[in-house]
């Protein structure tokens, strides 16, 4: 099995780390300064932040256990960005303020939409079952 954080995984870890820090910072500022304005959106911001933190950590830890945990985190992320992205268009009243995942991550160059699928592709290549 290849190391999750080496080769192209190294780039993935770097991008995930940036999003982990950015989403954590953003959600804490949102919840800390103006929590009542958009509780659902800000809670989802925090969830996104935790998912990015988990994915970064799992990729760094590696091993079969890290691989499975990373798969769960990236899958939650993929579902999250698709559901929140769709809802932010369909039910605008639910989201008075934006989250990382709103409009499929438009505010972040659509990277939040791309990232989970890059993550899944990388996990597929480094799968503990097919590797070695």
């Amino acid at each position: 099995m290849r190391e999750l954080s080496s080769g192209w995984g190294r780039i993935l870890v770097a991008v995930y780390a940036v999003f982990a820090v950015a989403a954590t910072g953003r959600s804490l500022v949102q919840l800390g300064t103006d929590a009542d304005r958009a509780p659902l959106a800000y809670s989802l911001s925090l969830l996104a932040a935790l998912v990015y933190l988990a994915a970064t950590t799992c990729l760094l830890v590696g091993g079969p256990r890290g691989w499975w945990a990373a798969l769960v985190a990236v899958a939650v992320e993929a579902v999250g960005v698709l559901v929140v992205g769709t809802l932010s268009y369909a039910a605008t009243d639910l989201f008075p303020d934006r989250t990382v995942w709103s409009h499929f991550g438009q505010g972040y160059g659509f990277l939040p939409l791309l990232l989970p699928f890059l993550g899944l592709a990388w996990l597929r290549r480094t799968s503990p079952r097919t590797g070695r």
């Binding site: 080496s6 190294r10 780039i11 870890v13 770097a14 500022v29």
Partner: protein
């Protein structure tokens, strides 16, 4: 103050462009980044540190309504990006390791744009 901030923004973006081109050349040639590239990154870093100080002074002195917490968050994160990126890149001297430097530079651009838009939002 406003003029100084704009000069710093463009200086950062220009230096990032220089460093970015150097990194892309390394990537295309599949070679690891050498001293000239890291010097270019260091030049960006110096301006980012100056900007952090100037930004704090500007925030303290402004009478406009700037979102202080967010502004400081981005402003003070900026100087951390390149050292962390360089550290992560140097741990693996490969094409992927070099690409990490590009990720770090693009992150600097994104943060820089955010800092400036937050600063000018109240203007």
């Amino acid at each position: 103050m406003q003029a100084v901030n704009a000069v710093l923004l463009w200086l950062v973006l220009a230096l990032v462009l220089v460093a970015g081109v150097m990194v892309v050349v390394h990537l295309v040639r599949d070679e690891t980044a050498g001293d000239p590239t890291f010097l270019a990154l260091a030049a960006v870093e110096v301006v980012l540190l100056v900007q952090a100080v100037v930004g704090c002074v500007a925030l303290a002195g402004t009478e406009r309504d700037v979102a202080a917490a967010t502004f400081l968050g981005y402003l003070l994160s900026l100087p951390l990006v390149l050292p962390l990126g360089a550290f992560w890149s140097l741990a693996e001297r490969s094409r992927a390791g070099t690409a990490v430097l590009l990720v770090a530079l693009l992150t600097v651009v994104a943060l820089e744009v955010r800092v400036f838009s937050i600063w000018t939002a109240g203007a």
